[in-house]
C-alpha cells in the first residue's frame, strides 16, 4: 500500500529517529510512505481564533499537494495524508475540519491561493500512523512480529495532541487504549499509570524550563512507580522534553532513575527485526540500549 506522507519539519531535524524507524517498520508490513514531493510546515500550532484564516494556508497547501500526487500518479485514488508527528497530525486535522465545515473559509483560502493550479476540494483525510495500524488490525501486526518484546514493560505516553480536542482525537481522550493495544501487539507488557495523557509542558521548554522540568519529573516518577522500563510517544516535542529534561533532572538528583524514551515506531522496528541503527537509537538522549540488551532484543 502506497500512502502520501507528510513528515513535518521536526522529523527532518531533531526527530530523524522517528522518521527512519517509521519508514523502515512500515516497509516490513507492506506500507510504503510516499513523501509529498513538495511540502511546507504544517502550520503549527493550530490557531483557535475564528478570524485568523491566514494560519490555515499552510495546512491547506499541503492538502493540495496530495491532490496533485494523485494526478501525477504517485499514488492511486488515495485521499489520505499520513502523519507521524502528533503536533502535525493535530494542526492539519483541525484545519481540515474547519475547511470541511466552513465553506466560506475554504472559498476565501482558495481565492487567496490563486497561484496554485487547483483548489482544495475538501476531500483529504488526515490520518495518524497509529490509526492506520489499528485499521489494519493490531492482531495482523502481531503476526508479523519476529522478535517479541517479551517482559519489556512499556508505558504509553499520549501527551495532548493525539487525543484533544475530541473532534480530531485518535482515541477516547479520557480512556485511550490505542497505544496499549499497539504495545500488546509487539508482545510487550503494558503499564497502568496515571501520567499517560498529562501535559509535558510543551513549548514552555523554550523559555520556562522549570515548568517542563517539574512536569517531566512527575511523569517519570509515575512511570517508575508503576514499574515501567520504557516510555513510548509519537510526539517529537514530548520526546524532546522527556528525553532532554530527564538528563537535567538526573544531573541535579543523582538518585533519580531515568527511563528510556522511544518513539513507538522504534520499538515496532525492533520487534519487526530491524537493527538498532535502522531505528536510530543513537539519536535518543537517555540510554536505550541497556534495557534492550537486558531483554536480549539487540
Amino acid at each position: 500500500m502506497k500512502i502520501p506522507y507528510f513528515p513535518g519539519c521536526t522529523l527532518k531535524t531533531t526527530a530523524q529517529n522517528f522518521e527512519m524507524s517509521a519508514i523502515e517498520s512500515a516497509k516490513k508490513i507492506g506500507i510504503e510512505f510516499i513523501e509529498l514531493p513538495r511540502w511546507n510546515c504544517c502550520g503549527v500550532v493550530a490557531s483557535l481564533t475564528s478570524d485568523d484564516l491566514m494560519r490555515h494556508l499552510a495546512p491547506v497547501r499541503n492538502f493540495i499537494r496530495v491532490q496533485e500526487m494523485n494526478k501525477q500518479g504517485l499514488v492511486k485514488n488515495e485521499n489520505r495524508l499520513l502523519t507521524l508527528c502528533s503536533m502535525c497530525y493535530n494542526t492539519l486535522s483541525l484545519s481540515n475540519l474547519r475547511m470541511k465545515n466552513e465553506a466560506d473559509d475554504l472559498q476565501k483560502i482558495n481565492d487567496f491561493m490563486h497561484r496554485e493550479e487547483e483548489n482544495y476540494d475538501g476531500n483529504i483525510e488526515v490520518v495518524h500512523f497509529l490509526s492506520i495500524l489499528e485499521e489494519m488490525g493490531f492482531d495482523k501486526l502481531a503476526q508479523k512480529i519476529t522478535k517479541p518484546l517479551k517482559d519489556l514493560k512499556v508505558a504509553s505516553y499520549y501527551g495532548c495532541m493525539l487525543l484533544r480536542p475530541k473532534e480530531v482525537g485518535i482515541d477516547d481522550a479520557e480512556a485511550p487504549a490505542i497505544l496499549e493495544n499497539f504495545v500488546k501487539s509487539l508482545k510487550a507488557e503494558t503499564v497502568d499509570w496515571d501520567a499517560g495523557s498529562r501535559c509535558c509542558g510543551s513549548y514552555h521548554t523554550v523559555n520556562n524550563v522549570d515548568i517542563v522540568y517539574n512536569l517531566v519529573k512527575g511523569i517519570i516518577l509515575d512511570a517508575r512507580k508503576n514499574g515501567a522500563e520504557a516510555i513510548i510517544t509519537s510526539c517529537p516535542l514530548c520526546a524532546f522534553n522527556l528525553d532532554v529534561r530527564q538528563s537535567e533532572i538526573k544531573k541535579d538528583n543523582p538518585d533519580f532513575q531515568t527511563i528510556p524514551i522511544f518513539y513507538f515506531t522504534q520499538l515496532m522496528g525492533i520487534a519487526l527485526g530491524l537493527d538498532k541503527k535502522a531505528v536510530g537509537l543513537e539519536f535518543n538522549k537517555i540510554d536505550t540500549e541497556d534495557i534492550l540488551k537486558k531483554k536480549k532484543l539487540i
Binding site: 519539519c9 527532518k12 531535524t13 511546507n40 510546515c41 491566514m54 494556508l57 499552510a58 487567496f112 497561484r115
Partner: protein, 228 residues
C-alpha cells in the same frame, strides 16, 4: 523626418508624467527628470538595486519588479524602493554550524512563516521564495541554497512578508553555510589556486592585458565553453 515618439502617461511616486512608450521604469524616471542617487545599479537586471513596486491600470494587484527590466504601460503607477531597512544580524561564518539551529539564533522570524506564498508572488526573479524558506525551516540548506541561487537581494519579498521574515538574508546565509560546510569540495579548485599562486598563468594574463581591444574581443568570442 523621424517618426514622432509615442508618449504614454504614468504615475511616478504619485505624480503624473508623460514618458516615451517602450521605456523601462528606470528610463521613464530619468526622462521625467528624477535624479537617481539610490535604487539604481547595474541597469542589466543583475544587481537587484532597483526594486520597484507598481500597479498596472485596471489591475488591483501590486506587483514587484526591477526598474531596469520592467517596461512601463499606459496608466502604470510606480514607486521605487531604494532600500529595505530590514534587520541584518552580523555573524562570523567560522563560528556557525550548517543546521537549523543557526537560523533559530540569527533569524528566529523565519519560523513565523505561514506559507502564504506572498514572497514568491513578489519575486522579480521568479524564485520559489516560500519553498526555500520552508527548506530552511526543516534544515535542508542544500535545497535552500539551490532554490535561492538566482536571488539578487532586491528585498521585495521582505517588504511584502506578513510575517516580517527577511527572506533574502536567510537565503544568503543558507548559501554561505552550504558553500563553506556542505558542498562537495573541489580538489581541482585547490590545485588551480596553487598554480595561480606559483605564477603559472602570469605570462598569459600579461599578454591578455596588453592585447588591443579588437584582438581581445576576437579571441573572447571564439573561445570554447565547456559545460560539464
Amino acid at each position: 523626418m523621424a517618426e514622432k515618439q509615442k508618449m504614454i502617461k504614468v504615475y511616478l511616486t504619485g505624480e503624473l508624467f508623460e514618458v516615451p512608450e517602450g521605456s523601462t521604469i528606470m528610463m521613464a524616471l530619468e526622462y521625467a527628470g528624477f535624479q537617481l542617487k539610490q535604487g539604481i545599479g547595474c541597469r542589466e537586471g543583475y544587481c537587484g538595486a532597483c526594486a520597484t513596486v507598481y500597479r498596472e491600470k485596471g489591475d488591483y494587484k501590486l506587483k514587484g519588479g526591477l526598474a531596469c527590466q520592467t517596461v512601463v504601460s499606459e496608466g502604470m503607477a510606480i514607486t521605487q524602493i531604494p532600500s529595505v531597512p530590514a534587520e541584518k544580524p552580523v555573524y562570523d561564518l567560522n563560528d556557525l554550524t550548517p543546521d537549523v539551529g543557526t537560523f533559530t539564533k540569527l533569524f528566529p522570524s523565519v519560523f513565523r512563516c505561514v506559507s502564504c506564498n506572498t514572497c514568491t508572488k513578489a519575486c522579480p526573479q521568479d524564485i520559489e521564495v516560500m519553498d526555500y524558506i520552508q527548506a530552511i525551516i526543516r534544515g535542508d540548506l542544500a535545497k535552500a541554497a539551490d532554490i535561492s541561487f538566482d536571488c539578487i537581494r532586491c528585498g521585495l519579498c521582505a517588504m511584502r512578508c506578513p510575517a516580517e521574515i527577511v527572506q533574502y538574508d536567510n537565503a544568503t546565509l543558507a548559501r554561505r553555510l552550504y558553500g563553506k560546510y556542505l558542498a562537495k569540495k573541489s580538489p581541482e579548485l585547490e590545485k588551480r589556486i596553487e598554480e595561480i599562486k606559483e605564477g603559472k598563468y602570469d605570462k598569459d594574463i600579461k599578454e591578455l592585458k596588453e592585447m588591443p581591444h579588437d584582438e581581445l574581443s576576437k579571441i573572447y568570442y571564439k573561445r570554447e565553453i565547456k559545460i560539464s
